[in-house]
Amino acid sequence: MITLTIDKTTIQVAKGTSVLDAAKQAGVDIPTLCRHEDLTPLGTCGMCMVDIDGFKDLQRACITEAVEGMQVQTNTPQLRKLRRGLLELVLATHPDDCLQCIKHGSCELQKLADRFEIRTLRYDKYTRGLPLDRTAAGIVRDMNKCIGCGRCVSVCHEVQSVKAIDFMGRGSDTIISPGYGVSMGSSVCVNCGQCIVYCPTGALYEKEMIDEVWEALDDPKKVVVAQVAPAVRVALGEEFGMAPGSLVIGKIYSALRSLGIDYIFDTNFSADLTILEEGTELLERLSSGGTLPLITSCSPGWIKFGETYYPELLDHVSTCKSPQQMLGTIIKTYFAKTHTIDPENIVSLSIMPCTAKKFEAARPEMNDSGYQDVDYVLTTRELARMIRQAGLQFKSIQEENPDPVLSQYTGAATIFGASGGVMEAAIRSAYELKTQKTLGSLDFTDLRGIEGIKKASVDIEGTEVRVAVSNGLSNARKLLNIVAEAKERGEMPFHFIEIMACRGGCIGGGGQPLENTLAKRAQRIEGLYAEDKNLPIRKSHENAEVLGLYKEFLQKPGSEISHHLLHTHYTAR
């Protein structure tokens, strides 16, 4: 431990702690615009300058390590003047349209401007007049509002290893852009939206579809059908002041009904369906010498990443569509048929924690029902906005049930929202279906949690099945490199791999409530496992509605019709 003094408080902190974090422990919130607790400190903004005894110059608290006996001043007249001046410099470049801004109220620049009472601007006001980039399926970029802190670059490079964006230009012309200034839509961006959740201002946000959804709801000819992803149910409450991890699925069903949605289903239903399809695919590949390891295909950010960076491994990726797309297809085929609704009039809406789902829904091959399988994807944040616009008091709203037949789900489905959940759900079913024995414990705790790469092995009838799980695409890259290198040597380190694009899994998706920190993600994960534990059925193959769907419509997992409707293919990019 290290003892140091922050202003008048003497505290002990662990070795390696930054002065900024030490100050936080001493109860002092040093302002910053570029530092984020989840990311490598960047040191770009200069807001966190502090005065440390023995140093000639002021130091950046975020990149200065606390050392024994350090005396730190955080609130001197010089520092106050400097911070206000810096904020003025930034605000001089920033459009003054806070009231129209999507980040109004959650913008970190706005909060600091308020905290330091910037009431006048002495500097020349200039904005850059850059066009909005709306070319990506899930992400809008408004570089006029970019303060160039570099967090998006940091998360895109270090956490995701996608490297879609980087700094370009110099001085005040510095801009963050895809390589060679191409548009986001034609870049290698995978639409994961992690840049959005780490952006302090309104420079990056989801491509909203709220207006289109209201329009569909107002159209008497349209039958609007909604599905809700696993990760939304433990996060939406945050938008209404509830703790991260609070399970609010009953309130969501109720709110959707109040908004005028005609039929409410649950993506968890199709998560169970996915397990039956993907589990069957795994068992088939295991027994028939198919391509292994099999890699999950639920995460559309990962799919585009794989298509871009690992085209040679695409035959490892499960042909199963994601739960969103499976349910979308079923809605416009089975549901339309049984309810005698013309699929033409169905508007299929999904509520997702994810911006890449918008990209996935728009993929040209996602039309096996004869129509675009999913019409609109709303993020968790967008649903919250619709609920607010309708004036619904979400916190006190009565819980309701979804509509039957495509909404029942098991504990195995709900944990799809957490990294390791798909794998755990698959093992629960694969084991029991293959061995016809009942698992003693359903909890595969080795596979849970926010750690980047997790490994385990399961004994299925004398066969050791080795599995691995990764979250965050840089971890996927590590895992895939291991697979690719082993493949060259003719080895197979794993049989089955789960890959989720975002840290922590879907609960950390680019569409989730802000601020989307790793600490909050961990709480959301707890919420999902708590629900799993409390559900009466925790294995996908025991989902009565899913089994009913097979009986009435799909015949059996992996059947011809299943293959036609529930499976897909990939394109090397």
Partner: protein, 416 residues
Amino acid sequence: MNQTDLFLRFKNLSPNIDDYLNENGYSGLRTALTLTSAQIIEKIEKARLLGRGGAGFPTAIKWKASTGKTPSYIVCNADEGEPGTFKDRFIMTHSPHMMIEGMVIAAYAVKATKGYIYIRGEYPEIASNLENSLLEAEQRGYLGKNITKDFSFSIEIIKGGGSYVVGDETALLNSLMGNRGIPWNKPPFPAEKGLWEQPTYINNVETLACVSLILQYGSDWFRSIGTPESPGPKLYCISGKVQSPGVYEAPMGSTVRDLISLAGGVIGTLKAIQIGGTAGPIYPSEALDFHLDFKSMSSKGGILGSGAIVVMNTDTSMAEVLEVEMRFFAEESCGKCFPCRYGTRQLSFMANNIVLGKGKRDFLELMEETADIMKGSSFCPFGKSVEMPVKSVLNNFSGELHALIRQNDYIREVQI
């Protein structure tokens, strides 16, 4: 040995290796190869060689960080981007082998395996001539494989892309590795983790040339030139309103007056002198008596920097000088940190408006405050250094700026 033409003697010789060898060239390296690393570093330390790139950091301290870890690299900083500075160009044009010899000695001392000359992109001709010099050195066995039984060292030339900030060592290393030319936070220092996370030692062209001289003629000889704290010869670059602008050699600690008279004196009446490059203060004529060495200049609140001296006479408008400087800083800021990225832009805007007759009375105060913000919170020395030229113009020539603003106020009122 004439002590004022250690560099200048090559002016009338060819840059070929034979001319250099005739001038005792490579005898320093031959001596070095008979010594241990520690002995060489001791010689450099005893000579009190201070880095000639601008910061004046003791060369021996840099080299002492060597742990023998391999691979490790020597980088010659030949990105001579400081306005008014052209001394490294002189060395590389007239006595490239003096620099190459120093580099090989440095490599031997810190056990480096590979060297890079990072030369500014605007010196393409020098870069291609250097290739020839490297070939010559290799043919004579001073460079390349098996310089001794267990010492091999090769040098590669890398051309810069024209950014000023890459003169900063960490930004230079980023650029050399193919990254964006922006500085990184030290620690880690390059001597611990530099190029590709390996130990890297960066020295300026003139510093390395001085290393050759020290090994050729000895530490005591070197210290007999210049001042006790800043010994050795120095190349100064005199430009602006003097009769014969150019590179001049004089011992460390010579006065500004000495140098200006070497350059044939001022054209017209002296008004201001900028010392140390764009980042140095702009002094009124009293600076004529300043001694040009690291210690004396820092005691005057200035810098020796690269040894650039820009002379201005009474025809020069200080508002225009300020405008040109601020525009330079705004264009060359790498954009990494907020204070520099936005501060340089606003300073340039204000200076430009003063010149255009649109200056406002509170500009001068705001410029000073902006310079303070930049000094206090810029990430690298580039942004911090803006304070010196801004404040020195505001302090030393405020009357002129005020008059310009007042005059414009008056003109505006009359026009209304």
